[in-house]
Each structure stands twice: as structure tokens, then as C-alpha cells.
């Protein structure tokens, strides 16, 4: 796991844009994380979106961070179910973050799909002002969430360590190569985003540990999406290929 780049102090516009790779590195993960947390200002957001459209490395990094976050959340949520205190903490976090995260994934997916056809479109979600009731920069809430995440992550890792794979965990090892997001089939993303996560109970159902975890996926030149569909038992994992049918 690459944690050495995450502390990059460079959160302003990159000074060296001579190569996409240099740009992506200079951006650091911090800005991407701020992006994922909706903490970027409008100007920074617009700038980052432009760079995301043109720098594949940055896109991959963003997707990797998103997937890493999903893995972390997944483990946290799994252990939260077995721990009353953590359960209460995670329920509060879920209520705030779950919908936001799914929307963000879908927005990225929509913009990335179909060979960049949708790249010039701006998502309504991005253009909306931040909610007056949910502030990502609320310091008091932030401190609580950080502490909760730290406790929950420790619990999750304890359990994770008990099911160590026989080989290096592909869930982590393969993340940099993961290309997960793309345009979902018509109506599917919207249905997944809005229906299961509207209330606490549904959110809890949707966070059931999946029976199948996607460690890595490569769609070639096509785009695609990964869905964890809530359902009975462990739910179902669906890898959806956006096939334009060009080869037929």
C-alpha cells in the first residue's frame, strides 16, 4: 500500500505539467481525497476535473482511492455489525456518507464512460452548492468521524488479519491497475444510488458483506462498472461491461 505519497504538501495547481505522469504525481493523493470528500473549492474542483479528463494516471489513482475506500468501509462495516459501539458509530457515518459516495462513483463513471463522450458534461451534483445541513468541514463532526474511523479501522484490521490469504491480498495489490468505473446501463446506476440507501435500515442491508469481492478488473478499451447488489444473504456482485457492440 502506497502511503508515502499521501502526505504531499502540494495541494495547489501543479507547476510542472510537462508530462501527465509528473502532473499526477505532483497533485498527490491529498487533492484526490479532498475531491472524494467534497472538500475542494469550485475552482480547484473544475481544475481537477479537467486534469482527470486528460491524465489517465490520475484517473487510475482516483479510482484506486475510491476502491481502497470501499474496501476499508467494507471491512469497517463488517466488524461494526459485530460490535455494538462501532455499529452505532458506523450507522451515523453511513447515513452521511453512503449516498454521497455512491453518487460520486456514478458521476465519475458517467463522465469516464464511452471513450470520454460524456467528459464535457458537468454533473448536476457537482454544480450544486454544498448542502447546508451536511458540511464536510464541520470540525466537531470531523473529529468524531476521524476517531470513529480510527477505532473501526483497527477493529477491521484485526479481523482482516485473521483471514489472511495464502497469497498477497489481491484486493490491495491489484488496486493500482483497477479500472472499475464506467457508464452504467441505462437507469441502473440511478436505481442503485437512490433506492437502497435512503434510510438507515436499507443502508445497513446494502452493506452486507458481499460473497464475492472484486480484486481487480480490466475492461480493455471498453468501460464498465462493478455493482454490489444488495439482496438475500451476501448480495450479488455484478461486473458490467459497457459493450458498444463495435466489434459485432
Amino acid at each position: 500500500m502506497k502511503t508515502n505519497e499521501r502526505g504531499s504538501p502540494n495541494v495547489t495547481a501543479p507547476s510542472d505539467t510537462s508530462s501527465p505522469a509528473a502532473t499526477a504525481r505532483s497533485l498527490g493523493d491529498e487533492r484526490l481525497m479532498m475531491f472524494l470528500d467534497d472538500e475542494l473549492g469550485a475552482e480547484e474542483l473544475a481544475e481537477l476535473e479537467l486534469e482527470l479528463e486528460s491524465i489517465p494516471e490520475l484517473q487510475r489513482k482516483l479510482v484506486s482511492l475510491e476502491v481502497l475506500g470501499a474496501v476499508l468501509r467494507h471491512n469497517v462495516e463488517r466488524d461494526a455489525r459485530a460490535d455494538g459501539l462501532a455499529d452505532a458509530v458506523m450507522a451515523a457515518i453511513d447515513a452521511e456518507d453512503a449516498v454521497k459516495i455512491h453518487e460520486k462513483v456514478s458521476v465519475i463513471a458517467a463522465e469516464r464512460g464511452e471513450g470520454g463522450q460524456a467528459q464535457q458534461q458537468r454533473s448536476p451534483r457537482r454544480e450544486q452548492p454544498r448542502s447546508a445541513t451536511v458540511s464536510a468541514n464541520d470540525n466537531a463532526k470531523g473529529g468524531f468521524v476521524i476517531a470513529a474511523l480510527a477505532v473501526a479501522a483497527a477493529v477491521a484490521l484485526f479481523a482482516w488479519g485473521r483471514t489472511v490469504p495464502t497469497e498477497r491480498s489481491p484486493a490491495v495489490a491489484a488496486l493500482p491497475e483497477t479500472r472499475v468505473l464506467g457508464e452504467a446501463p441505462a437507469g441502473a446506476a440511478a436505481a442503485l444510488m437512490t433506492s437502497p440507501l435512503k434510510d438507515q435500515e436499507q443502508a445497513k442491508n446494502s452493506t452486507m458483506e458481499p460473497g464475492v469481492e472484486v480484486a481487480s478488473v480490466e475492461f480493455g478499451s471498453r468501460a464498465g462498472s462493478v455493482f454490489y447488489v444488495p439482496g438475500e444473504g451476501t448480495g450479488t456482485t455484478v461486473i458490467w461491461i459497457n459493450d458498444t457492440g463495435d466489434e459485432e
Binding site: 499521501r6 481525497m33 475506500g69 488479519g161 437507469g187 460473497g211 469481492e213 472484486v214 480490466e218
Partner: protein
């Protein structure tokens, strides 16, 4: 910055936490892995908007009524098969669109001598020499996953794979 702190915490915990416990069975390097028989049940279906509903043979797959499958209103069973999987050996199956599904067992996570999760790589080749989609998953025994969306006869191809 929540994610930043979460990831930082994750990294710190990874460094501090031991990765093994007494009841885990992790083969040491160079030690031959114990052979576990693994096989894959494969279901091949076609989704379309033909208005015919879901084939009764597929009725047990409730997922077909939910997104993203609900983008199509009809599903028909095309083929079913079971393939034994061996570590690092390719098990393949021809697909109705002329493509091929290749499955490789990459590893088995065990706990207390029981397989907990299978790590497999599935490659879908659209047609010989054509586009490939490669996915690596970690699947619990009996859990099913789907790879779908590939265009096929005015609809899509749906591959369901269950390992046991």
C-alpha cells in the same frame, strides 16, 4: 480529509497488526499448497427487451429482477456447465457469441483447513483475438457473481459463475 486520516490509520494499523493467527493456514514460500478441489458452475443467459420475462430455469436468480439486470425485461437460459478448476490452469468454455470464458484458480484462502474464499481470474474474450475483459475476484464458496453487458443478438450476454 476524512479519507486521508482513514487511510493513514489503515497504514498505521497494518504496520502494527500481525497478519496471522493460530488457526490460519498460510503455506510458506516453497511449500506446496494443499490441493483443494474447486469447481465452477457456469450459467450463460441472454438478456433482452423482448417482453418475454425471465426463463423459469433462471427463476432462482432473483438478481435478474434488480438493477443493473432490470435494464432488460427478458432473460433466457442458453447454457449451463461445470468446470473443475486447478491452480494456474485455464478452464475454458465457449460462449454463444463466439467468444470464450477462461477461468483460472489463483489461490484459496483457508481458515481452520476450510476454504474461506477462492481467488479466481475470469477472462472473457469477445471473439478469438478480440477484446478481453479480465476480472479477478475473491469469492466465498457458493457465492455467485455475474459478468454481463456484452452485446449479443439484440441483447446482452450474462455469465453467472459460482465456485464451490
Amino acid at each position: 480529509m476524512k479519507s486521508l486520516f482513514a487511510v493513514a490509520t489503515l497504514g498505521a494499523c497494518l504496520a502494527l497488526c500481525g497478519s496471522s493467527s493460530a488457526d490460519e493456514k498460510v503455506p510458506q514460500p516453497g511449500q506446496p499448497a494443499r490441493k483443494i478441489e474447486v469447481s465452477a458452475d457456469i450459467v450463460i443467459a441472454r438478456g433482452s427487451n423482448a417482453g418475454k420475462g425471465i426463463d423459469p430455469k433462471l427463476a432462482k436468480y432473483k438478481e435478474l429482477k434488480s438493477p443493473p439486470f432490470s435494464s432488460y425485461d427478458s432473460y433466457e437460459l442458453l447454457d449451463e456447465a461445470t468446470r473443475p478448476l486447478e491452480r494456474e490452469k485455464v478452464a475454458s468454455m465457449k460462449l454463444p457469441d463466439g467468444g470464450e470464458l477462461k477461468l483460472v484458480l489463483d489461490g484459496v484462502e483457508e481458515k481452520g483447513g476450510k476454504p474461506m474464499r477462492f481467488v479466481i481470474k475470469a477472462t472473457i474474450v469477445k471473439k478469438p483475438g478480440g477484446e478481453e475483459s479480465i476480472v479477478q475476484v475473491k469469492a466465498k464458496p457458493g457465492a455467485m457473481f455475474f459478468v454481463a453487458g456484452q452485446k449479443f443478438e439484440n441483447g446482452i450476454l450474462v455469465l453467472g459463475i459460482k465456485l464451490h
